[in-house]
Amino acid sequence: MRRQAVSAAPARGPGQVKEDPERARKAPGSASREDAEGSAARRAARTQRLRNALLSLCSAALGLVVWIVLAHSGIQGFPGPASVLSRGWQLLRDGVLLDDLGASLRRVLTGYVIGTALAVPVGFAMGWYPVVRRLIEPWLQFFRMVPPLAVIPLAIVLMGIGETPKIFVIFLAAFLSCVVSTFQGVVSVDPTLVSAARVLGAGDARVFLGVVVPASSPFILVGMRIGLGAAWATVVAAELIAAQSGLGFRMQQAQLYYDLPTMFVQLIAIGTVGLAMDRLLLLAEHRLTGWQERR
């Protein structure tokens, strides 16, 4: 899965303890050698980090060059970095950008929080009780195939043009991605862990709260990350269709006035905020599920 690819490296670091205590104690002369190995490993890690940073910088520079070339290649109205930057500054100073950002974020967070808050218990119920799974899964699989955006026209007709339909589709997007992975997490809990808890005297409640919940938390967090991505993508699209504020709405307006720099500013803002939220959840994931044995 993706989360394994993201951080396969730190699992078997050179500083990791893999030695039996007897053996470790029986080698008093080896301490300095281990130190030397450790510092060599640290140096290697530092070089690696420096190299990665340089490559990222190169990547950014390359992107900028491609952009400038495109801007000068004669595509009608294609803005260069300078005009986008000045427009961005102007929008920021006017407060328009932050207002739009606030409006979009409010919708996303409302829908996302409700969606995941409902998805986690539903996912657990599906994983824990086969009856619940049989009842819910067909609907889940069906609605997963319907892009949340396709629900917008119906939602607007039913719920009006206020905030409700937008929050509803975001809720739907977040819920659907999160519920599936929570359910997967519960189903894939190692049965010997459950047996181990039972033979130590744990009852149903203890097995559920003490074993099933923590064991499936990596799946839930991955689901929450995917859900956030889906929610963010959905809000922008929803605002394109029907809204009076938000990043998507501003882009829609800019399209009407042929205002390409503004569209670029919106696109960059959307990408940046999305990335920041994803990194934040990734950080939380590492903090909370660092106990995982990664292969």
Binding site: A11, V17, D20, P21, L193, A196, G201, G210, W291
Partner: protein, 260 residues
Amino acid sequence: MPSIEFNEVRRDFGSRAGGFLALDGVSLTIEDGEFVTVVGPSGCGKSTLLNVAAGLLDATAGSVTVDGEEVRGPSPERGVIFQQYALFPWMTVSQNVEFGLKVAGVGRAERRAAARRVIDMVGLADFADALPKTLSGGMKQRCAIARAYAVDPKVLLMDEPFGALDALTRVRMQDALLETWSRDRRTVMFITHDVDEAVYLASRVVVMAARPGRIHRIVPVDLPYPRTEEMRLSAEFADLRRQVWNAVYHQPSTLEGNSS
């Protein structure tokens, strides 16, 4: 006295293509303080037998009693050690060891002290706060053994506990286990597929046969405890090993010729 008694235990796993008889008419008594190993080819039901004793599987017919009480569901009185360690990966070594005590409602300080004691016993004192992912296989299994010991079970049921370890670690773990066992003489039922291990550890080796899973032969091991490396190389050991080997690997493959 904590003995384990299997009474005509039968277990079948129903399936659409007819049933599969994992155990048929297994009767065995493991005496108090006895160390019994169970060997047999794969599919002979040795793990099923252990799971029935642990209360993780129900017997289709017959019964298991431990210390005179019939087994109904898992209980901390019967400690189980699994081949795949089954440590809770999000808990440190000491949290793993304390789990059973916490379930039993033992207070924090008392829990700490008890955990410390068994962690010291298995030689993991320096790793009490380590996560399982940083431990080697042998250390993980020692942690699992400490976790089982922490709740002071009447009997220990071990399901190929050293099966996933390398040969050298395995020998060390066997000696460590015997040393612990010789101190408190807890009744042990130990499943393995390693004939050497079976003979080295046990006072009796139970050899099972497959299809249906049943007891084929019981080989008493008349070597005294403590078992030593010299013993492992002795002629008596070789002879016992041969007996068990023959019983495991040259057994009738079907029911024919076997009265059951």
